[in-house]
Symmetry: C2
Subunit: 383 residues, 2 copies
C-alpha cells in the first residue's frame, strides 16, 4: 500500500509501452487533500534532467497535488523537445485531475539521452488516471522500477496519522545517479515550511549518507505530500522522526538492492571533531574502489581504510587512528591491532568503525562492495 496507506491519497501504476519488456512503467500518486502542503529535494548535480528543471518550478510555492513518474527513459539531455514532453505530461495529468499543471511534479528514470515517445506518455496518462485507487500504492511502486529487483515501500504508523513511501534506485546512488526517485505521503496536517525542514533533516541522515558508487544522478527527486486528512498535527520533532524512519528504511532497501553488490557496508566514524568531518571520512572510505574490492574479496584490508582517511581534511592524528571491521579492532594507533584472520567478512552486512580520537561527533555512511557483477551490469546496461 505504501503511498496510499495515509488517508487522502490515491495512486496507480501501469504498463504503457515505454519499457521493451512490457513491465509497468508509468505511476501516478495524487493527493486528494484537504491540504496540499509539500516539500521536495532534488539532485545537486548541475546537469539536471528535464523533469527536474520542470519540477523545480512546481515545488516553489509548497503546493503539490500530484506526482507522475515514468521509468523506461530519464528524459535527460534531450533538449527543448524533452522539456516540452515533460510539460505536456504535466498538463495532461492536470487536465484529468482538474488542477493546474503547476501543481504536478514530474519524475523520469531510465537511460540518459533517450527521448521518450511523447504520444505514448500522453496516452499513458489517460490509462493510469483511470486506474487510480486507494489500493494503488503497490502498482505505483512497481511502475518506477528500472534495474531494481524488488520494489521499495515503507509505512510508518503513528497515533492517528501515518507516513507512506516508495522509492526506486539500484545504482548511481551518491545519493544520486541511476536516479533515486522517492515519493512520501502523510495524512498529518503540516504547513509546507515545517514539512520542508523535516524532509531536509530526514534526508540529510538517510539518502544523503548512502554512497553506493560515488556517482551522482541527474534526476534524483524526493517529494513529500501532506494531505492533512487525519486532522492530526504532530510536533516538528514527531514529524521529523517519522520522516527519518521512513527515509532510512527506504535508503536501506536501496542499499540492499544496489546493482551487483555482495555486501552492505556501514562505515561509522566516531569521536570526530564534527558531524561533517565524520561524514567526510566515511564518504572517502565509501568511495575507495580498493577498499570496496577488498570487502568483495572478504579481505579486512585496514590499510586501504587509513589511506582513504588520509585524503580528508578532518581533524585526527595520522599516527593514532583505530579501525574495527565487524567488531575486531584490526588497526590500533595506526598500526596492526587484533588479528585480521579473526574477522569474518562472509556475512552480507559489514561494519567498519573508525575512531578519529578528535572529538565526540559521529556519523554513519553506507556503501556497497565493488564486485564483478557491478562491472558487468554497468558495462552492459546501455548498448
Amino acid at each position: 500500500m505504501s503511498v496510499t496507506h495515509p488517508a487522502g491519497f490515491v495512486a496507480a501504476g501501469t504498463a504503457i509501452g515505454l519499457k521493451s519488456t512490457g513491465a509497468k512503467d508509468l505511476a501516478l500518486v495524487v493527493n486528494q487533500g484537504p491540504r496540499f502542503d509539500s516539500a521536495t529535494v532534488f539532485t545537486s548535480n548541475r546537469c539536471k534532467a528535464n523533469p527536474v528543471l520542470w519540477s523545480e518550478q512546481v515545488v516553489k510555492d509548497g503546493v503539490v497535488k500530484a506526482v507522475v513518474l515514468n521509468s523506461g527513459g530519464a528524459n535527460c539531455y534531450t533538449g527543448p523537445e524533452g522539456f516540452q514532453t515533460t510539460h505536456e505530461v504535466a498538463e495532461a495529468v492536470a487536465s484529468k485531475l482538474g488542477i493546474g499543471a503547476i501543481d504536478v511534479v514530474v519524475c523520469s528514470t531510465g537511460l540518459i539521452g533517450l527521448r521518450n515517445d511523447r504520444q505514448t506518455l500522453l496516452d499513458g496518462v489517460t490509462a493510469v488516471h483511470g486506474l487510480l485507487s486507494a489500493e494503488g500504492g503497490n502498482d505505483a511502486a512497481e511502475a518506477i522500477m528500472t534495474t531494481d529487483s524488488v520494489s521499495k515501500q515503507v509505512v510508518v504508523e503513528r497515533d492517528g496519522w501515518s507516513v507512506g513511501g516508495m522509492a526506486k534506485g539500484a545504482g548511481m546512488l551518491a545519493p544520486a545517479l541511476a536516479t533515486m526517485l522517492v515519493v512520501i505521503t502523510t495524512d498529518a496536517e503540516v504547513p509546507a515550511a515545517v514539512l520542508d525542514k523535516a524532509l531536509r533533516d530526514a534526508t540529510r541522515v538517510s539518502f544523503d549518507r548512502l554512497d553506493s558508487d560515488g556517482c551522482q544522478s541527474t534526476n534524483d527527486t524526493v517529494t513529500v505530500m501532506a494531505s492533512g486528512a487525519s486532522g492530526v498535527t504532530p510536533t516538528a520533532e514527531e514529524l521529523t522522526a517519522a520522516l527519518t524512519e521512513a527515509c532510512t528504511s527506504l535508503a536501506m532497501q536501496l542499499l540492499a538492492d544496489a546493482e551487483g553488490a555482495d555486501h552492505e557496508i556501514a562505515i561509522t566514524t566516531v569521536n570526530a571533531a564534527s558531524e561533517d568531518e565524520a561524514v567526510e571520512v566515511g564518504r572517502s572510505v565509501a568511495r575507495s574502489n580498493l577498499f570496496k574490492a577488498a570487502v568483495f574479496g572478504n579481505d579486512p584490508n585496514w590499510g586501504r581504510v587509513l589511506a582513504s582517511i588520509g585524503t580528508t581534511t578532518a581533524a585526527f592524528d595520522p599516527a593514532d587512528l583505530d579501525v574495527a571491521m565487524n567488531g575486531v579492532w584490526v588497526c590500533k594507533n595506526s598500526g596492526p591491532g587484533e588479528d585480521p584472520a579473526t574477522v569474518d567478512l562472509t556475512p552480507r552486512q559489514v561494519t567498519v568503525t573508525i575512531d578519529l580520537k578528535a572529538g565526540d561527533a559521529e556519523a554513519t555512511v553506507w556503501t556497497n562492495d565493488l564486485t564483478h557483477a557491478y562491472v558487468h551490469e554497468n558495462s552492459a546496461y546501455s548498448s
Copy 2:
C-alpha cells in the same frame, strides 16, 4: 640502463628475500657527483608511510646522494618500529658509501601494515652495495616492481647531457595509492632550487594528471638527482622540458600497465575557463565508476560523462556541452549528437573530448576502464 644512463650514477637491484617469489626486491641508486642537487615530491596523503616521514627530512636541504628502494612491503602503518627500520636502512647505506644517512632517501612499496624484517633489509644493503655499477639501471628498475608486469624506464637524450628514470606502480594511481615510486637522474649541472621548480612543473602535467583508480597512496615518492657530471647547464626551460618528457613517458608506461585495465583513456577538456577547471572536469570523469565500466563494455555512454561534469564547480552552461568519444561528437549542446554506433571503442586507446565553451584553457587527465580484472586483482591482493 635508465637511471644509470646519465654520467655520475651507479645502481643495482637484487633479491634479498622480502618477496616470497624470490624476485628482485632491493634497489640502490647512487649519485657519485661531482654535484648532489636534488628535488623530491611526495604523496599528499596525510597518512604517510615511514619511509616518506624519513625522506621528508632528508630532502629538506636539496642534497640527496643515494636512494634505496625495497619492494615486498610498504613499511606503512608499522609504528615506531617501522620508522626505526627505515632509519637503520638509511644508516647502513650511508655507512657503505661513506656519506651521512641524512643524504639517503628511502622508499618502500608492497602491502600496508606489514613489518619488513629488519635484518633481511640490513643484510640486503650489503648485498646490493656490492653489485653497484654503471650498468645497474635495469636491475634496479626490476627490483622495485610489485604487481607491475613490466619495468618502467626512460632515457631522454639532450646535447651533451641526459635524463634517465625508472618507475613502479600498477594501481592506486591518483597519482597515488599502490605506491608510485620514481627515481630520475640527470648529469646536468643544476642548482637544487631550479631542479625543484622543474620537477614540480613536470609532475604537475604528468603524474598528477594520472588518475587510474582515484585512490591515493601513502608511499608515493618522485626523486630527481643531478650529478653535474656532464658539465652542461641547461636553461630552466630546457630542463623542465626534458623532465616533463621523462615524467610523461613514465606516466604513460604506468597507465598502460594499470592493474586489470583493458583501456587507456585520455580525457581532454577544452575551452575551459582555466587549466584548473579543465583538470577538475577531467578528474571527475576519470573517477566515475559508471563511465569507466561503460568504456570496459565498449559503450560510448556520454550521459555518464555529462553527469560527472555536473558534479564539478567549473564554469559551463549545463545546456550547452559537447562531448566526443574517439573523435565522434556523440553529444552536442547537451543532447544527442552524432550516432554513437559509429564510435569504435575496441582499440585500447580511448579519447574523450569535452568542450566546456567557457574559455580557452585545456588539460588532459588519463585514466583506465573499470574491469572484472581490476576487481579480481584488488580483491585478491592481500589475503
